[in-house]
Amino acid sequence: MVLIETHDLTKHFGTLAAVEGVSLRVEAGEILALLGPNGAGKTTTIRMLASILRPTRGTAKIKGFDVVQEPIDVRRSVGFLTEHHGLYTRMKQQEYLQFFGQIHKMPATVIRERTTELLTQYGLNEASELRLGQFSKGMRQKLALARTLLHDPAVLLLDEPTSAMDPSSAHMVREGISGLRSSNRAIIVCTHNLHEAEMLADTIAIIRRGRIIANGTPKELKRSLLGDPVMELRLAGPLDGALKHLPPDLKTLAMGKNWLRYQVGQPEIVNPKVLQAMTEAGVKVITLSEVGRSLEDVYLQVVAEGENGFGSRGEKEH
């Protein structure tokens, strides 16, 4: 079931094109990371999805509700974690969640139950007597996350959930977010943190200057942007004698005295042939493994292409 769907979503502020022609599809159970540098248009995109900003052009639907025509239904279906927690510092956490529960017209008993459940889940029970102004940054973000989840929304929009947090708090929040994955929920995480995107997301859309310039699973992005997987063969003896046994069309990238790196489109066919060749040459194989390529490589590649005026890459509606 598609929970988030946009087509040609565009937002202009005066002469500035903040978002330009963004088309996305996120299904239930899926997490999409909207990855991009600061000012790329991530926040504007999700503000449109939360029916806070009105698109200049294009359409967006949340759980089937149009963001322009049915804003109240959209906002009922969405949990929006803003980049800045925006807590009321003179309030206490129960009172704070109760306020948002009342806005969502939740019955008092349900608010109480959900509040207890979420505060326990995020380890905030101990802080019930503190004013929110006394909370640490991590605690504030976790409470903001609890606020976002209070009405059990089908769609979660998380804007830079771990920005400006120390590694340990960021880790805690990331753990919390990965625990939110469910079969009837779609999540969009806006981030400029590559590690976060790779860790949390099923699919990644890279946004730059308001345009989606690449879109797909991390694996797809790596393949489409960095080419076929690269394999590394490490041998117990010298490579020289075994070279003539290798498949003639093997695309060799680099080699040393007892190692070889090659790029392969169909590893399941080619790798057994390579191993067989080594056996025939009588050379013992220590390892044959894929060389890791990080999302950072992909990101830098895409952004570099973008700088050179390259168009959209690896884009598909998923």
Binding site: F13, G14, T15, R47, A50, S51, I52, L53, R54, I72, R75, R76, V78, F80, T82, H84, H85, G86, L87, Y88, R90, M91, F99, F100, Q102, I103, H104, K105, A144, R147
Partner: protein, 486 residues
């Protein structure tokens, strides 16, 4: 049956709006009562200040009675009642600026904007939250002051006076708060909002001075008119606030920087309105701009007519000596060559044109910042003067039609339509802030109206004023001489 269901639906919607607004208001009021910076002045102004005023009233009464001028004391006590009520509500402005601009600056507004609350619920909730504590404090202060007076000197306010003070206090608070919302919506920080707040504080302070003069003058019935005028201003501000306080305006504006390029683009696009040649543009002004301003033209015509009638009637009160407005005598004067100077003979038409343009430019400037009201008043003045002279001519036994035909109509045929069209364009410009179309910012809407104003000004008003000036110099005097000298 259908009507009943409709009424029920509307009632439910209203109740739902109130319920949502109350959730917002309750949280904010609770929050304010936890803030010592708000609580301390409220307590001081509610309890300490009325007692001080009480003491002042007692002393003043004793002093003026000793010197045989009890009337001063009689006037002072109601005035102090007004002041006791006003001081606590002055805090409402600060609270409103904090509630609107402050919440935006503290970045706690966005989570609220992402909830199912409507813009109206948020707006209403914040207005109520900004009004309840200061008004509560004000009513309490008034009660403390009155109880003190009853106990000390046995003075009880006439019910009408008490009602007037309560009405004035309440409506002034509403005006300040609704004005603060408009200001907050136009800025992105509390600092900028505080700077702009002087546009509210200064007029309200002047109003209170005016009210005090009225109270010392004992013309209490005028206070009702002030209440009515303030209610209208509150309505205007309320409507503006509702238009401006929307998610798009609040989050679409990140910094208060003037983008001149954007301003020019918006203006130029609206000015051209898709036309390519001057002829096409001129046709477009006639076919689009003029019909679009038909309601404003009607209103301005009505107001100018009202100006004429007021002027005409004022002739009864401030009558000019008959021999000065006697048309026959004037005709005799015109027979002499030196007498024709009164008809502007020999004046340069460019001078008249320049004067008229200057007057209309001033009207545009005033109208742009007063929702068109000051412009309409300014335009009513010359018509009122014509009416006043016409009235005096009638009182002197003359013929109004002869007077108007001789002195006004020849060039008035061009000048009066020019004034009406200008007035309507200024009214549209002034009202642009009240009727911002969906999807447009206040700035966009205002620039579009300014461009419309410029289109009408250049395309219609300037040619009419040139014709009027030429006729006024070369034709009107000759018609006047011909009509009045027989």
């Amino acid at each position: 049956m259908v009507l009943g269901a409709g009424v029920k639906k509307s009632t439910n919607q209203v109740l739902e709006t109130i319920a949502g607004a109350w959730i917002v208001a309750r949280r904010e009021i609770r929050d304010q009562l936890r803030d010592w910076r708000i609580l301390t002045p409220i307590i001081i102004l509610t309890l300490f200040f009325p007692l001080l005023m009480n003491f002042t009233a007692q002393q003043a009464m004793g002093f003026v009675t000793r010197y045989g001028a009890p009337i001063i004391g009689d006037r002072l006590i109601p005035f102090l009642l007004l002041i006791v009520g006003f001081f606590p509500i002055s805090i409402s402005l600060v609270i409103a600026l904090e509630s609107f601009a402050g919440e935006r600056e503290r970045l706690s507004l966005e989570p609220l904007l992402a909830t199912p609350l409507t813009d109206s619920q948020l707006y209403l909730g914040k207005i109520v939250a900004s009004l309840v504590p200061p008004l509560g404090a004000s009513y309490l202060g008034i009660s403390v002051y009155l109880v003190g007076l009853v106990l000390s000197i046995g003075w009880r306010p006439p019910p009408q006076l008490l009602l007037q003070v309560l009405a004035l206090t309440t409506i002034q608070a509403i005006v300040m708060v609704s004005g603060a919302v408009v200001i907050s919506s136009l800025t992105t920080s509390v600092r900028a909002a505080n700077l702009l707040a002087s546009f509210i504080i200064i007029p309200v302070a002047e109003l209170v001075i005016g009210e005090s003069v009225i109270m010392f003058w004992a013309r209490y019935e005028i206070l009702w008119w002030i209440v009515l005028a303030l209610a209208l201003i509150a309505l205007v501000f309320g409507r503006m606030g509702l238009r401006l306080f929307n998610r798009e305006e609040l989050l679409g504006k990140e910094i208060d920087v003037i983008d001149l390029r954007w301003v020019w683009q918006q203006f130029w696009r609206a000015f051209r309105n898709g036309t390519k040649t001057p002829i096409e543009w001129y046709k477009n002004v006639l076919s689009c701009s003029l019909p679009a301003a038909r309601w404003e033209i009607l209103i301005t015509t009505g107001l100018l007519a009202a100006g004429y009638i007021i002027g005409f009637r004022l002739a009864d009160t401030f009558t000019i000596p008959k021999d000065l407005v006697n048309l026959d005598a004037l005709g005799e004067t015109l027979k002499n060559p030196e007498g024709s100077i009164v008809l502007l003979l020999g004046l340069d038409w460019k001078w008249i044109f320049y004067n008229n343009v200057r007057a209309l430019a001033l009207a545009t400037l005033l109208g742009a910042f007063s929702l068109g009201v000051l412009a309409e008043i300014l335009l009513m003045v010359p018509i009122g003067i014509i009416g006043y002279f016409a009235g005096n001519v009638v009182l002197a036994g003359g013929d109004t039609l002869q007077f108007l035909t001789a002195f006004v109509l020849p060039h008035g045929v061009f000048e009066i339509p020019a004034a009406i069209i200008t007035g309507s364009a200024i009214l549209r410009l002034g009202l642009a802030a009240l009727s911002v179309p969906k999807g447009e910012s206040l700035g966009q809407s205002w620039l579009k109206s300014l461009a419309e104003c410029a289109r009408i000004g250049i395309g219609l008003v300037l040619p009419l004023l040139i014709c009027a000036a030429v006729v006024e110099v070369y034709v009107t005097p000759r018609i006047a001489v011909w009509l009045l000298t027989g």
